[in-house]
């Protein structure tokens, strides 16, 4: 109990536990975020395709094809939900994504126009589905009837891909902010200077910052994984031990980076700026919300070297593909290198006075 390392770790720990806001950001926020994203990107393939059918002047005049008949035809198919729309409404509904396609009945039977934006994937699907329904209703016979084998694979949905990324991001961001900020505070209050006037060993102080960060890690990561598992069915296919090791490495590497970032800065403003400098590239490029392979080949070596990229890739491999140690050894090496180099540099250049 009376070892300096234990005492310094306890100080760090109490900074968390006596600051309810800190607990919110560490525990509640990631779960709320997963929940919000999970609902937004939940499996939507079973939803009906929303289609608008334009009321035309000729239809009102009693032409062969009136809008109501087209709506009835489309609605008879379980995949499609159709409604009549006027010209002005059609444009705004289409723009807002409330309908995927506008069907414009022509004057003659069999003359139909489809209005849609082809860059929207759901509009492309709507065009072919609606076309199939209308063609069949007009008497087209299918050349053959295929059999459908429907499968649903947890692990291949967007939410499955997203959760490991959110977990990685959360571990890294908490590490970066939590440590650098409290060091910034201690430095502006001249507390670090006061500690350096004691026989305290410098490595103990820096090490305790990391240790204090790690104590809540199992709970923090556990809450998110368990929540995602029970609420959204996100799988953990690989070993829990390997997953724990990855989360641990993610936390210490980002903690070490945080120590390095905070090692010289004299003010909060400088520290905030430096943390953002470290976080923003990872936020954008490390594959949290979309794949890091979207970035050009030229910058891939940089993207792949980022600790969050390594962490996210490894978390996905273990959680979704069930990969073993060998498959993520490369990522483990990257995270370990970040830890050792940043901690060593921080110890060397840290500003104590």
């Amino acid at each position: 109990m009376n070892s300096p390392f234990v005492q310094l770790t306890l100080v760090k720990l109490r900074e968390y536990t006596r600051e309810p806001e800190a607990m919110f950001w560490v525990f509640v926020f990631p779960v709320l975020m997963t929940c919000a994203l999970g609902i937004a990107f939940r499996d939507s393939s079973s939803a009906e395709i929303q289609v608008g059918v334009l009321q035309t002047a000729s239809a009102q005049a009693g032409a062969a094809q009136d809008a109501a008949a087209v709506v009835a035809t489309l609605d008879a198919d379980p995949r499609v939900a159709a409604r009549e729309v006027t010209g002005d409404r059609a444009a705004s509904l289409l723009r807002d994504g409330e309908i995927a396609l506008v069907v414009i009945p022509g004057a003659e039977p069999g003359s139909v126009s489809y209005r849609f934006d082809k860059t929207r994937p759901e509009s492309g699907v709507a065009r072919f589905t609606v076309d199939e329904v209308l063609q069949r209703a007009a008497g087209r016979a299918d050349a053959f009837v295929p059999e459908e084998q429907l499968v649903e694979l947890p692990g291949s949905r967007y939410i499955d891909w997203l959760v490991p990324g959110l977990l990685g991001m959360n571990v890294v961001m908490t590490g970066l902010w939590g440590i650098a900020f409290s060091i910034g505070m201690a430095r502006t209050k001249k507390l670090i200077k006061r500690l350096s006037a004691t026989p305290m060993r410098r490595g103990h102080y820096l090490g305790a910052q990391l240790a204090g960060r790690l104590i809540f890690l199992p709970l923090e990561a556990g809450v998110l994984i368990v929540f995602a598992h029970y609420v959204f069915g996100v799988p953990v296919r690989g070993s829990w031990l390997l997953l724990s090791l990855l989360i641990f490495l993610g936390a210490v590497s980002s903690g070490a980076l945080s120590l390095f970032v905070a090692s010289r800065a004299r003010s909060f403003e400088a520290i905030s700026g430096l943390i953002n400098l470290a976080i923003v590239p990872m936020w954008i490029m490390s594959g949290v919300f979309f794949s890091s392979s979207n970035f050009p080949d030229v910058i891939q070596p940089f993207v792949q070297a980022l600790p969050l990229t390594a962490l996210n890739d490894a978390l996905r491999a273990v959680m979704l593909a069930g990969d073993g140690f060998g498959a993520v050894a490369h990522e483990i090496a990257i995270l370990s290198a970040w830890t050792v180099i940043c901690f060593g540099l921080a110890l060397k250049i840290f500003r104590w006075q």
Binding site: S3, V11, R14, E15, L191, R194, A197, P199
Partner: protein, 316 residues
């Protein structure tokens, strides 16, 4: 070094020779010499910006001198740092201890750094914070915070205590409590080096003093020696209406050692007030002026500083 040796008055706790420290465009310390004997309370008295904090931080090993030689407890910074740190107690002027920790936790943290420290209860009793042991630092008053800060310096059972402006900003009662605490430490055989810009604090606490101005020691000795160096024990400060008085005329008066013009009027030093006052009144009467204010007091360290520099210790 055995405790007995360090406590013998012949041994020096601090010796510093020809200390110099320059910042970008300011010379903070300009060839400062200092000798502090083991077991004494030594004060650096001077106005803000005199170089006291820079000096004490160099002695504490927190700042590096450009030139000069420093020896603390017979050891040197750069060679014996850890051994030295084990034996020093340090209180810094601007430290704000972590507000979310309790008094007890704060002391426990500092205690953990020292191999031969004091029991927490002993320190808590010494700094009179037992009732506050479970209170968070953020909830303490200014005086309590300052005593805790000194407690953190004492918890390693130091031989030498450094205090930088320990009572600045404290109310009279809190100052008194802190003085008692330091007196207590010294009675136990400890050595103290403190900086202050309060002459009453220097006079009450210090066995010996160095008056520091512009990075140099301009006078040194016991408080009494310094006051006696004025050659007079009393001061007469007065203002008049009417024609100005000549300094030479004032200096020629019976019993007067020296005279100066001040911001508000005149200041005269004397060793015999009963001679100087009638003579002064006579002089004012002859010149056709009228005395509007007369104030006499025993000479203080403030007067010593004034006579050496022509300025007040606390320049507003």
């Amino acid at each position: 070094m055995a405790p007995g040796l360090i406590r013998s008055p012949a041994v020096l706790a601090i010796r510093c020779v020809n200390l110099r420290k320059r910042y970008a465009d300011v010379v903070a310390v300009d060839g400062l010499h200092l000798e502090v004997r083991a077991g004494e309370c030594f004060g650096l008295l001077g106005p803000n910006g005199a170089g006291k904090t820079t000096t004490i931080e160099i002695l504490e090993g927190l700042n590096r001198a450009d030139e000069g030689d420093v020896e603390v407890l017979g050891m040197r910074w750069g060679a014996d740092d850890n051994a030295l740190r084990q034996r020093l107690g340090i209180q810094l002027q601007e430290t704000q201890l972590n507000e979310k920790q309790t008094v007890e936790e704060t002391l426990q943290l500092f205690r953990s750094f020292y191999t031969h420290g004091e029991a927490l209860d002993t320190v808590l009793a010494r700094v009179q914070l037992e009732p506050k042991r479970k209170a968070q630092v953020g909830k303490l008053s200014g005086g309590q915070k300052q005593r805790l800060s000194v407690g953190c310096a004492l918890v390693g059972r130091p031989d030498l205590l450094f205090l930088d402006e320990p009572t600045t900003g404290l109310d009279p009662q809190s100052r008194r409590q802190l003085w008692d605490l330091l007196e207590d430490f010294r009675r136990g055989g400890g050595t103290i080096l403190l900086t202050t810009h309060y002459m009453d604090e220097a006079a009450a606490l210090c066995d010996r003093l160095a008056i520091v101005d512009k990075g140099k020691v301009i006078a040194q000795g016991t408080p009494l020696e310094l006051i006696r160096s004025l050659g007079a024990e009393h001061m007469l400060d007065f203002t008049i209406e009417g024609p100005a008085l000549a300094i030479e005329a004032l200096q020629g008066l019976a019993g007067v050692q020296s005279a100066r013009i001040t911001d508000t009027g005149y200041s005269v030093t004397t060793s015999s007030t009963h001679q100087a006052v009638p003579a002064l009144l006579g002089l004012i009467g002859e010149s056709g002026g009228r005395l509007t204010l007369l104030n006499t007091h025993s000479a203080t360290l403030e007067d010593v500083f004034m006579s050496l520099t022509g300025r007040h210790l606390r320049d507003e």
